[in-house]
Symmetry: D2
Subunit: 473 residues, 4 copies
C-alpha cells in the first residue's frame, strides 16, 4: 500500500531540509532485516525503516556501479546520460543534482566513492562540476590512487601499516574503510559542515562489495549460523551468457560460481552479511550523531544501494550480464519525520532515478531528468534497467535491456556478433525466484510480444529530448 | 547493383577534394528525371546522375527539416543528436562535420537556410560553432528576420520592391530566392573562396518547398501538360492520424488534401515540378561555373534533399506524421570524376547520415557519428527514420519510428495520451505504393513482431555511447 | 562651461532610451563646422550640435583604430583591455558594453567596420561575443574579405562593376561606402529593428579615412575654394621619430608629407573635407529617418570619431607615433532632447571611454570600466592616450604615452633598442599649435617632472584591478 | 659573481628533470645561515646552498602572499596577472606554469597553502585549472575551513586533540604543520608519485609566518641565546604610513611594534628563528628522502620564500605597506647537481617571476610571462615590487611601487584621498640599512627623477601585451 503523504506544500511552508544520502555498494534488497530476511542483523536499518518508509520494489537503472550512480546523480536513464559502462566518464554537459543543491545554497559534501569517471588502475577520479565543497574521495579500500583519502587516513592512524601487505577487507573495524565512512560522515555532521546552510551529504560505503571479507568479529557472527543455501538453478532455458558467467564471473576476471565449494559459498554469504552488519553499525552511529546534533527532525535520510549481488543464486556470483531481482532490486528507505509517516511500506514500482526528483522537490527546487517524487504515489507502473557491456567488458559486447511491468519481467539480450538474440521472461507472481524462463514458451508468445512493444515504446518515450522547443520551426 | 568503387586509397594518394553539397528542401525521390519521372524536366540533375552515381534508396533520418538537417551535419540519428523537432536548437556540444573540415584547413561556406536552431517568427538563427567562414543565411524567401540575406539582396537589386506585398514564390527567376542561391554559390566558386585551401560549400535551396509557386515561365511549362494524378488512398486501415492530416496539414496550420479540388492538385504539382526545374537550371549554372573554373575534376559534388513531399498521394499534402516513400526517400547523386565511375546506380539502402562519413573520408579525415562511406558498398541493410512530434506540434505529441529492412517497411506510432498505439507495415515488393497496411494482418503477425524486435535492437544499437571507455572500471 | 543636466534620475523614471552611435574614422576635432571651422560644410552635424551638447576636449585613448575602438567598446584603457595595436585581437574575456545592452533587452545592430580583431590582408574579422543581432560588416570600402557586405551590396546594385578595377574612394555617392552605411542605418531604423525592444545601433563610417578620395561632386566643392594651408613646423626640438614620419608615413608603408607638393596637400584637404561632408549628408538622412519614425525624442544620438588625422600639419600625414591635437582630439556630440539642454558646449577634459559609461547609465545599467557619465560634469581633470607601436609596426617598437592635464600636454616616448628616451611637453594655453616642445627646456623642468609623476600615478591608478576583493586574505 | 652555467643545451640532451619547489612563508633573506646570519641554525639549507647556487639579490613581486604567489605561478607581475591583493582570486584566464608541466607529462603535486584565491574566514580555496593531480591543501595551521587537510591529519593522528583549544604554532614537532608538510612531501617522493613520469612537487610551508610560536624545543634553543636587537629607526623622514604601521600592524588588525617591550621583541625573534630551524629540519628530511630514492641527481631543488618579515627592524613588524629589504628580498637556492656548479653565489638582481621561466626551460618547455632563466646570467638589471593595498586593506587604499636599480631603491607611494604622494629613495651602497630617505633630498633630486622615469618606462614596458599581433591591421 502507498504511503500517506502530507497534503501540505512543504515547498512553501518551511525551510529546506537537510539531506543525508547513505548508499552502499552491491547490497541486494534481500540483504536487509526489514525486507524479511531473518538471517541478517541490521537493527539500525530496521529502525530507520520503522521510522520512515520502505520501498519493496525499487529498481536501479543499471546492474553495475558507474552507470547506476550516474543515473542517481543525473536523474536520467543510462541511454540518456551516456555513462554506459564502468570506466566511462560522464559527459561534461550532464548536470548533477548536487550542483543544483549547491547553487541553491546547500553545503554539499561526500565521502567514499563517486565513480562518475574511470578509476581503474590507480586513477584518481577526475571531478565533474559536482557542487561538493567537501569531497573526501576513496574509490575503495584497496591500494591504487595515492589520493585515496581512506589510505591516507589509515596510514596516518596506523603508520606501522604503511607498506604492509594488508587484507583491507578484513581489517579491524576501528580502521576499516566502512568505519572511515562513518567517521567522516559524523565529522561532517558535527564539525565540518557550514552551519549557515542546509546540508546535503552523501556517505558512499564500499561494503558489501566483494572481496568477501569483513572484520573477524562480524564474520564470526554469521559463520557460526546455519545460513540458507543459494537458490539452485541449472540455467537450462536461460541465455547461454549466464552459464558462461557461472563459470567465470566478471567476463573472466573473477572466479565463477562453479569454482566454489558449497562450504565456500556459505563463507561468502557469511562475509557478505557481515559487511552489511558492519555498515549497519556505522549507520547507527551516524543516526545517533544526527540525534545528538538535533538534526533528525529536519533531515531527510535516504538509505539505498547502487545494485545487488547474485551471491550464488542461479549459480551466479557478483554482477554482470544478469538482471535477476538479486542484481537489480535494492533497499530503499526514506526517513523524514515531519513529512513521512513512520512505518510505511510501499510496493509500487519505483526507480533509482526517482531519488534526485524527490530530493530536489524536498529542497523546493524543480527536478529535471525523468524521476518522480517518491513522496507522491508512483504513476509510472514500470521500471527499466540497462546493461551495455557495462561491467568487465566482453570482447563481443553484451547488451541487455529489462522492462519490469505488472507481474512480468522481460529481459532482451540484443544480438551481437557471436551471440544470437535471446531473452528472458518471468512471471514474478507465479515464479518469484525467476526459475522458469518463458521467453520461448509458445503460451507466452503474446505477452512477450506485448512487453517488447512496451519496451520499444518506453525507449522512445525516454529518448533524450531535453532541448526545449522554442518555436513551431 | 552496387557501384564499382576504386580500390585505391585516395586518402593517401592525393590532395583532399573540394566538396560542393547542393541540397534542396522537400524534394521527393521521384521528383527527378533520372529517377524515372518522365513528366519532370531536370536535365542538369540528370547530367549529374549520368556523370556519377544515383542512389535509388536513400532515406532521411526525419521527415521534417531541422531534425533531418541536424542528422546530416552531425552524422547521427535524431535520438542521438537531440534536435528532435523543428524549433529546437542543436545542443552546443554536438559537433558538425563542417567544423571538422574547417579545422582540417577547408574554406567552408554556406548559402541559404541552415535550420539547426529555431527560425520561426522572424528569429535570426543563432549560429552553432559550425566552421563556416562564409555564411550567407536566409531561412526562406519570406519576410521574417531582417537578417535574411536574400531579402537584403532582393531589395538592393530592386529597391522598388521594398515594402511591397510580394508573392515571393512567384517572383521572376532573375530575382527569385533560387536564383540568389545560384548566384551566391557561383560567387563563392569564382570570387569569394580562399584559393589557398580546398573548399566545402553548401548550397541550401528552399525550393521545392511549399508555398506552391514558381516563376511564371516555369509554371507554364507544366500547367500545359497532362500530369499524372495523385495516388488515391482512402486511408482505410491506416492510422487515424493520417485521415486527420488529410483534412488539415501541419497539425491544422495548413490546408489539408481534402480542401483541394482535383484541378488545384494538378496546379500544385505543376508548381512543384516548376520549382524543381528552376533549381535544376541553377544547378546547371553552378556546374558550368565549376567547369569554367577548372574545378570539376577535383570536386565531389553531392545533390540531395532533406525530405520529401506527399503532393496529394495517399490524400496527403506536405509532410508531417506520415512516413511514406514520398516523404522519406530522397534524391542522392554524387559526382567525383576521378573516383566514381560515371553512370552508376546503387540500390542498396543508404541513409542521409552517410553523407558526412563519405565527405570526411574523402577529405582524409576520420568520420565520427553513425554514417558509412557511400563510396563503399553499404553493409547496414536497413534505414531508420524518426518523427518526434517534429513538425508543427500536435498538442498530444505524435511519435513515429520507421524501420526499412529488406522488402519491408515498419512504422510504429507510439501511444500517446489520446491516441492508442498503432502502426503500419508494408511489403514494398508486393505493394510499392504502400496502399495495404499489414500491421493488423494476422498473416503478417510474425514479420511485424520480427521487425519490431529489429527496431528495438536497432534503437539500442544506436544509443548515444560516444563517451570512450577508458578502463575496465 | 559644463552642461546643465537634469537633476532627475532618469534611470528610474522612464523607459530606457534608444541609442544611435555614429562614428567616423580619422576625423579630427577641427573637421567640423560647429568646432569653428568655417571652411568645412557640416550643416547636419552642426544641427546636431545645436540640439545637444558639443564636447570641445574629448580625447581618444589611442591614435589608431583598433586600440581606440576597443577602449570605446570596453570602457577601458589600452593597457587594461590588451588590444594594444591594430592587427591584435581583443582577449575573449573582455566584455563589450553592447553585450550588456543586449543582455538587458536591447536590440543591437551595427553597420560598417568593427576592428576588434585583425582585418589585414582580406581577413574576415572574427567576432567577439558582442551582443549584436544585426551585424553588417565591412571593414572598409576596398576589396579584401569576400564577406565585406558593402561589396556584396555594391556588386548587387551594380553587377557591371564586379571585377572592375575601381577607385572605391571616388565612387558616385549613390554607391559609395558612406551611402551604404546610411542606407543600412536607415534600414535598421525603419525596417530591421525589433520594435518590441529599445535599440542600440552603431553606424561606423570609414570616411574620412584616407585614401583621399570622395565622390566628384563633393570634392569639387572644396577644390574650388581657397583652403587654409597646413601648420608649418620644422620639427626641430621634436622627437626624431616625427621627422622620420614626415618622410614616410605608416612606418614606411605610405607616402610621407615631404613627398607631397603644396598643391597636392590642398587636394588632400579638399578630399578630406569632401569625405566629411559626404558623411554629413548621410547623417542628415539618418536624422531625418529618426524624425520620420518619431524616434528623435527618445533616442540618445552620439556622433564621434575614433581618432584624428594630421593632414599636413606639423609636416605630418595620417596618424602614427604622433599625439598632436589633430591626432587625438575628436568631435563628440550628444543629443537627447529630453535630457540634454540644446546648444550646450562643454570644455572639460573628457575621454572616449566615457561613452560606454554614459550609454549604460542612460540605459539604467551599471557601467563597468573606467569611464564617467558624460551627463554629469567630469571630475577627472586629465586624459590619457597610449601608442604601443600600435599603427603599422616599427621594427624597433615605438611606445608613446600622453597625459593631458590643465594647460599641459606631456608625451613620453619610452626608450627602445635604437631610440633613446625622449618626449614632448606643450603649454596649450601659450602654444595651442604645439610648436614649441618644452621637454628639454630647463625652465620647464619642474613641470615636466611633475607631469611624469602624475603620469606614473595615473598608470598605477588605472591598472587592471577588476578582480573583486572577496576577503581580507 | 655570476654562476658558471653549462654551455650544453639540456633541453635537447636529456630527460626533463624532476622539480621540487620548497617555499616558506614570510622568511626574509637574512633568516638563513648561508646568507651570513650567524645567529640562526639552518644546516640543511646551508648544505643545499653549498651544493648549488645562492642568489643574494632575489626580490619578490609583492610583499604579501597572494599577489606574490600569483607572480610565482604565472611568471607575471602583479599589474599583469591581476591578483592585486590577498583575498582576490586569480582571473580564470591566467595560466599557471604547473598546468604547462602537467600538460607536458609531469606528475604535479602540492602540499600546504596555495593562496591564489580568498581563504579568509574558513573559506575552502576554490581551485584554478592548476594541473596538480595531488593537491593536499591546508592554507595554514589554524582552524578554519573543514577541508584543511592538516587538521584532518592532526585529528586523525591525535583524536584526543579534536575540539581542544590548541596553540597550533607551538604544537610538538611530531604533530606540527611543518612536520605535516615534510611528511606529505616525503610521502609523495616515496609513495604517491606516478613513477612513470617526471614530477613537479611544491612543498608550501606556512612557517616562519607569525603567530610567533614554534615547538618548545626549537624555541628554547634561541631563547637561551643573546640575539641581535632590531635595527632602530625613528622613521623621521619616512612616509607617515610607516609610523602608523609601527603602532598598528596589518592596518590595525595586529599589534604594532610600539606595543612590544624589548624583551618581547627578542622572544619574537627567537620564535621566528625557531620556526626557520623547524623548517630546516624538515628540509633535511626531504633531502634525505631524495637521496634515498636516488632522485637527487636528476631533481632541480628550489628553496625560496614568498616575502619577508620586518621583525622589529625600522620599528615595524610583519609586512604591509613597507618595502624594506627585510620585506622584499628573499632566500633563493637552486640545486641541480648535473647542471649547476656547487657552491655558486650570484649577486645579480633577480626576481621571483624568474622561477617559472627557469623551471619551464629546464623541463624543455617554452616559458611564457616575463621571467628569465636563472641558469643564465640575468640581463635585466632591475627589480619591481608592487603593493596595491594588498595586505589587510586600508580604508583609504595605499599603493606603493618599488624599483630597485643599481645601488638605488626607489619607492613611490602614490597619492590617495587622504594621503599625499610621497616616497622613499635609498642608496643601498652607502646606506644598506635604509635609514636615510633621500626622497626629498635636494642633492638627490636628479636621481629621484631619473628613477621615476625608469619606473614609468618599466611599467609601460611590462604592460599586458600578451595578445599576439596577427597582422599590420
Amino acid at each position: 500500500m502507498a504511503a500517506k503523504v502530507t497534503g501540505l506544500n512543504y515547498r512553501l511552508l518551511r525551510m529546506p531540509p537537510n539531506v543525508l544520502l547513505i548508499c552502499t555498494d552491491q547490497q541486494r534488497f534481500s540483504a536487509l532485516g526489514a525486507a524479511g530476511n531473518e538471517e541478517i542483523d541490521t537493527p539500525n536499518l530496521d529502525r530507520l525503516a520503522s521510522q520512515g518508509v520502505l520501498f519493496e520494489n525499487c529498481y536501479v537503472q543499471s546492474p553495475v556501479c558507474a552507470p547506476s550512480r550516474a543515473s542517481l546523480m543525473t536523474g536520467r536513464y543510462v541511454h540518456q546520460h551516456g555513462l554506459w559502462a564502468n570506466g566511462v566518464g560522464l559527459p561534461d554537459h550532464e548536470r548533477l543534482f548536487s550542483k543544483d543543491l549547491a547553487d541553491a545554497g546547500y553545503d554539499c559534501g561526500l565521502v567514499g566513492k563517486f565513480h562518475l569517471n574511470a578509476c581503474f588502475g590507480g586513477r584518481s577520479e577526475v571531478r565533474h562540476d559536482d557542487g561538493f565543497r567537501v569531497f573526501r574521495w576513496a574509490h575503495d579500500p584497496y591500494p591504487g590512487s595515492s589520493e585515496n583519502e581512506y589510505h591516507r587516513w589509515l596510514y596516518t592512524v596506523r603508520p606501522d601499516l604503511a607498506g604492509a601487505d594488508l587484507d583491507y577487507d578484513s581489517l579491524p573495524a576501528e580502521i576499516h574503510y566502512s568505519r572511515w565512512i562513518g567517521e567522516q560522515t559524523i565529522d561532517f555532521l558535527t564539525r565540518s559542515r557550514d552551519r549557515s546552510k542546509p546540508f546535503f551529504f552523501v556517505a558512499n560505503f564500499f561494503d558489501p562489495h566483494h572481496g568477501f571479507g569483513a572484520p573477524e568479529e562480524y564474520v564470526r557472527r554469521y559463520r557460526e549460523r546455519e545460513l540458507s543455501r543459494p537458490i539452485p538453478d541449472a540455467l537450462s532455458g536461460k541465455p547461454p551468457i549466464q552459464t558462461e558467467a557461472s563459470h567465470e564471473s566478471y567476463a573472466g576476471h573473477a572466479r565463477g560460481f562453479t569454482t566454489y565449494s558449497p562450504d565456500e559459498l556459505q563463507e561468502v554469504k557469511a562475509a557478505y552479511y557481515a559487511m552489511v552488519t558492519l555498515v549497519d553499525d556505522e549507520v547507527g552511529r551516524i543516526l545517533d550523531a544526527l540525534d545528538t546534533e538535533g538534526l533528525a527532525e529536519d533531515t531527510l535520510v535516504v538509505f539505498t544501494s547502487d545494485h545487488g549481488e547474485m551471491l550464488g543464486d542461479h549459480e551466479l556470483m557478483l554482477k554482470g550480464p544478469m538482471l535477476y531481482e538479486q542484481a537489480v532490486r535494492v533497499p530503499l528507505l526514506l526517513r523524514w519525520p515531519s513529512t513521512i509517516p513512520a512505518g510505511t511500506r510501499r510496493t509500487d514500482l519505483v526507480q533509482w532515478i526517482d531519488l534526485s526528483a524527490t530530493i530536489l522537490t524536498a529542497a523546493g527546487l524543480t527536478p529535471h531528468g525523468e524521476g518522480q517524487d517518491l513522496l507522491q504515489p508512483s504513476s509510472r507502473g514500470w521500471a527499466l534497467c540497462e546493461y551495455r557491456n557495462s561491467g568487465h567488458p566482453y570482447a563481443d559486447p553484451v547488451h541487455l535491456t529489462m522492462l519490469r511491468r505488472d507481474r512480468w519481467k522481460l529481459i532482451v539480450q540484443h544480438a551481437s556478433r557471436t551471440r544470437p538474440r535471446t531473452g528472458e521472461l518471468y512471471d514474478l507472481t507465479a515464479d518469484p525466484s525467476e526459475l522458469h524462463n518463458l521467453w520461448d514458451d509458445p503460451l507466452h508468445r503474446d505477452i512477450r510480444t506485448d512487453l517488447q512493444e512496451s519496451l520499444l515504446d518506453t525507449l522512445v518515450a525516454t529518448e533524450n529530448r531535453t532541448q526545449p522547443r522554442l518555436a513551431d520551426w
